[in-house]
């Protein structure tokens, strides 16, 4: 069970182009963005500059981007160059991110570090739910968690994944779930259930 009395689960709306902007940059952690990531009135074609992660990208992207589709070998590669790009950018840019939840919130962090506010970005998480879970006991971050219970890679306790998301740290909260009655564990469920 992941729902408590309190939930801070982010909600996502399909992307639309911000009406007044000088330039738009869409980044995704995959190629071939599904049409449902866009609102009815728009599509990938409305975003002439796109950065995508393609595992076997052979051409090195321009470090500062520009119009066209740029391919990156990994999400971390894309995020690093995104940071450089945003530091060289001027006001009037809008940033859009599509991908796994950890990816889109990484993009939000890079944007925030460059001074962008929420009103200059849109995020849309796609795919199976994957959570980055922080163990509240030892602070270890357990990436790519897909179930409601997970063994902490740091301290070995069984964590139950709470419905509490930190937008600042891009992590979900994991709390030892058999603290009161050791060994008594609820049933493991898929996060998408």
């Amino acid at each position: 069970m992941t729902t408590g009395s309190f939930t801070s689960r982010p909600r996502y709306s399909p992307l639309t182009r911000f009406p007044s902007a000088r330039a738009h940059l869409l980044v995704a952690d995959h190629a071939g963005i599904a049409p449902h990531a866009f609102a009815e009135t728009c599509s990938a074609a409305d975003f002439p500059e796109r950065w995508e992660v393609v595992a076997h990208a052979r051409v090195l992207p321009q470090p500062l981007g520009g119009p066209g589709v740029h391919q990156f070998r990994s999400a971390s590669h894309l995020l690093t160059l995104l940071g450089h790009r945003l530091n060289a950018e001027t006001m009037g840019l809008r940033l859009y991110a599509v991908g796994s939840e950890p990816f889109v919130w990484d993009v939000a962090r890079v944007g925030r570090e460059a001074g962008m506010g929420r009103e200059e970005m849109q995020l849309f998480a796609v795919g199976q739910p994957v959570r980055r879970v922080v163990c509240v006991h030892c602070r270890t971050i357990n990436p790519e968690v897909t179930t409601t219970l997970v063994t902490c890679a740091g301290c070995g306790v069984t964590l139950s994944v709470r419905d509490h998301f930190s937008r600042m740290h891009n992590t979900w909260m994991g709390v030892q779930c058999d603290a009161e009655a050791p060994g008594e564990l609820p049933e493991v469920e898929d996060l998408c259930a």
């Binding site: 902007a21 950018e89 001027t90 006001m91 840019l93 460059a114 962008m116 506010g117 200059e120």
Partner: protein, 316 residues
Amino acid sequence: MMDDRTLSLRVAAAPLVATGLRRLHLVAADGSRLPPAAPGAHITLTLPSPAGARPLRNSYTLVEADPERGYQLIVRRTDRSRGGSHHIHDRLQPGDTIEATVPHNLFALHSQARKHLLIAGGIGITPMLAFVAHLREARAAFELHQIASADEAGVFAALLAPHPGERIQVHAGRDACDIAALLAAQPLGTHVYTCGPGAMMDRIAAVAAELGWPASHVHREDFGAAGGEPFTARLARSGIDVAVAGDQTLLEAIEAAGIDTPSLCRGGACGVCILPLSEGDPEHRDHFLSEAERASGCHIMPCVSRSRSATLVLDI
């Protein structure tokens, strides 16, 4: 929302810093500590009006606010003034006491900004002096562009003298500063703050919007965007007609008629002065009512807004 705590202040000094510009140094009349204020805050002074009519209430930005040392204001003597600035320039003497509101801040620096771009026109320099002092101390990234008429450029350069540096520029003449080029060159995370004539601030806001700046990054201070065509305000419930002169705000005219109505910023920002409107064609000049609220035509902010029709009927 109305905060009517008042302060009793004593004029410690009132030197003329340039032709028509007087610096007021105010301390607590009883020698106590004054409330602190963040840069951008203002106080509203209650000043006697010339003909013994109801007192005037004018808002002035605090150029400096220190609980121990006191508050500093710079007041320009304006000819179109309703008498407030004349009183400060011609009558007020060191040792006099005046009444003021506690500081309010409707023009605060944005704490998340990566860079602050300050653009002032004329006497709009006053909040910028407070900002510059603060930003220097915080070692924050900023730029100040002061636009002044050619014959006044020297005055403003002198006021800015304690803060020399390449980040501060005084532009002599309205066209000496290329606003579009300036805004287009700003890095992500910049916030722009404008203070000066309404037309200048409108133009900067329009250029910023055109360049894709989100509205949340554009800040303005406007006091005294007051004048316009005279009109009549009919106060339906009180059953009186009030003549609003060209150099008077609707709020002032209502107050002068002896009707007490709440107000705070007197600059169209805070929303305190809102009044119900029943007839007429209002010219909204505030930053408080939304487009939808304006369209519904039910309210007006009398501290700045006026009338396009000869008569405006208010439900008060």
